[in-house]
């Protein structure tokens, strides 16, 4: 409970929560908040300026930009959160195992992880999408694989530090199984650094999904997503700047606030690092 109190007292945490909580709400319940069908085309109302009916104007097919923004958040969030959860679970377990056993198998795990890290992330994502097609499920898996190394390396180095600590030796002496030592003894002691990495990775995931959608490799049109909207708006940047402005603004705010959240969590969970702002 102490952690929660410290979080609330942390200004960065509060600021990011003020932005993130409504965003998550919109991602979850966006379908109930919209007044227009985000896919419905109106050829007479293309590229309109903001009005009472369309608070952020319309796009090149006369669709409501505000509604498309609201609906477009969901796939981005599913890809970013889903992928990061997969990465966190897989990466933590692999890292724990590799750090604890530290023999040839442990080395093998870490070298594979290093290989994945060598790929530029957007390139690997494009490869996978190119082979297996786009679609939400594939994107979740791609993000999961791409960010597994981040968690794996953090778990590995933290475990390396702890594997010879006396409370671990005590467990070995009592004949505890490797699984018990990893999950019950070591994991609670390294989990705070993993949580910090989680929020930082979510923001990378959002950016990656937006990047892919921008390139036309993400969510399939006509379903909206933010990156795809920015990509479409590129053609009208000179004549209708506000079309580009809205999705860019919200993407910025989302990334900024998730990063801030990560910073705030680091301040709270890792008191050894001095605050820096």
């Amino acid at each position: 409970m102490n952690v929660l109190k410290q979080c609330i007292r942390n200004k960065k945490f509060l600021l990011s929560a003020i932005i993130l909580v409504p965003l998550l709400f919109v991602a979850l319940f966006g379908n109930f908040l919209i007044s227009h069908d985000p896919l419905e085309i109106h050829y007479t109302q293309t590229l309109e300026a903001p009005s009472a009916e369309y608070p952020m104007g319309t796009d090149e097919y006369g669709r409501c930009i505000a509604c498309r923004l609201i609906v477009g958040l969901q796939p981005t969030m599913i890809v970013a959160f889903g992928g990061t959860v997969i990465a966190m679970v897989a990466g933590s377990l692999l890292g724990l195992l590799a750090g604890y056993i530290k023999d040839a198998w442990g080395n093998a795990i870490m070298r594979v992880v290093d290989i994945i890290l060598c790929f530029p992330s957007i390139l690997l994502a494009m490869l996978v999408v190119g082979f297996w097609g786009s679609g939400m499920f594939n994107l979740v898996i791609v993000v999961g694989i791409l960010y597994t190394p981040h968690f794996c390396r953090i778990a590995y180095s933290s475990t390396r530090k702890l594997r010879r600590v006396e409370y671990v030796e005590s467990q070995q002496l009592l004949g505890a199984s490797t699984f018990r030592i990893l999950v019950k003894t070591l994991l609670p002691n390294i989990v705070s650094s993993l949580i910090i990495q989680f929020s930082l990775t979510v923001s990378s995931g959002i950016l990656l999904e937006s990047g892919l959608s921008f390139l036309g490799l993400g969510v399939e049109p006509p379903n909206p997503s933010w990156g795809q909207m920015i990509g479409d708006a590129r053609a009208y940047i000179a004549t209708n700047g506000q079309y580009m402005f809205w999705p860019s603004l919200f993407l910025c705010l989302t990334i900024l606030s998730t990063n801030l959240m990560g910073d705030a969590l680091r301040d709270v969970l890792d008191p050894k690092l001095k605050k820096s702002f």
Binding site: L174, A176, P188
Partner: protein, 322 residues
Amino acid sequence: MSEPLLEVRNLKKYFPVQHGMFSSGKGFVHAVDGVSLTVEKGETFGLVGESGCGKSSLSRVILGLVKRDSGDILYKGQDVRTLSRSERAKLRMVFQNPFASLNPKERVFDIIAEPYRIAGGFSHTQIQEEVLKLMDLVGLSRGYATRYPHEFSGGQRQRIGIARALAMNPEFIVCDEPVSALDVSIQAQILNLLRDIQKELGLTYVFISHNLGVVKYISDRIAVMYLGKIIEVSEAKDLYASPAHPYTQALLSAIPGAVEYLHIDRVLLQGDIPSPVNPPAGCRFCTRCPYAQERCATVEPEMRQVGEGHYAACHLVGKEAE
């Protein structure tokens, strides 16, 4: 009475030292280099030596936390590696650093309950009963059960560690410098606690320390280690009254006040302890020994009897000495 509980024969453990990825030379730290000892049931076997002489490595090899390279470790006449899980759990350890030996994320209750949970087959009420009994035994208030280790002082933490080591009725406990991290005022409390518990439960201890006063206080027999070898074994009283090995003499004379009270001459050693990667041939102590002769540098001394139950590894003592 004398019935050996633990027998160690010619135990060796070398740790590889790597100089770097591309260098060909590979050395070994001779941490435990041919140690033999016998611990009898119900006694406290003290193990002294300076830092880095292999005391802790020896204890970890005996308990199987570190794999041995060669030699035998027999517990009740049976190789420790072939002991069943429940038999294995009779061998325990009290750790040196009470700040590292308790999982900071677990409550005191869970720490002490862990042996029962790992063994399995205990109901929650049984575990609760046993844990509270253990907390009474080591002098911890029952109200502490729901607290975390960081809320306690070093002495109290060590009590928690001792309670954990006593769970599931152990027979043999290695105490690896259990008081060296504690304030002097607390040391006596913990030592008395260990001694009282030993009497009450009939335990056998191997007690490791670099503090000669502490070892003398608690041990029945004492072994002195130097550079991975045991160089002298004796009843505690004899060792302090008539140390045979020159190293033991030097060690004892370094106790503050020893020259006055034990009536021994001060022996000042020259130089540093040699590297355990490259220990001297012959007697390990010959590079610093004030009485060193030519054969000391080439021939390794065997253990020789110098009194009843008193053995020392030195060419200059015992029956065959001129």
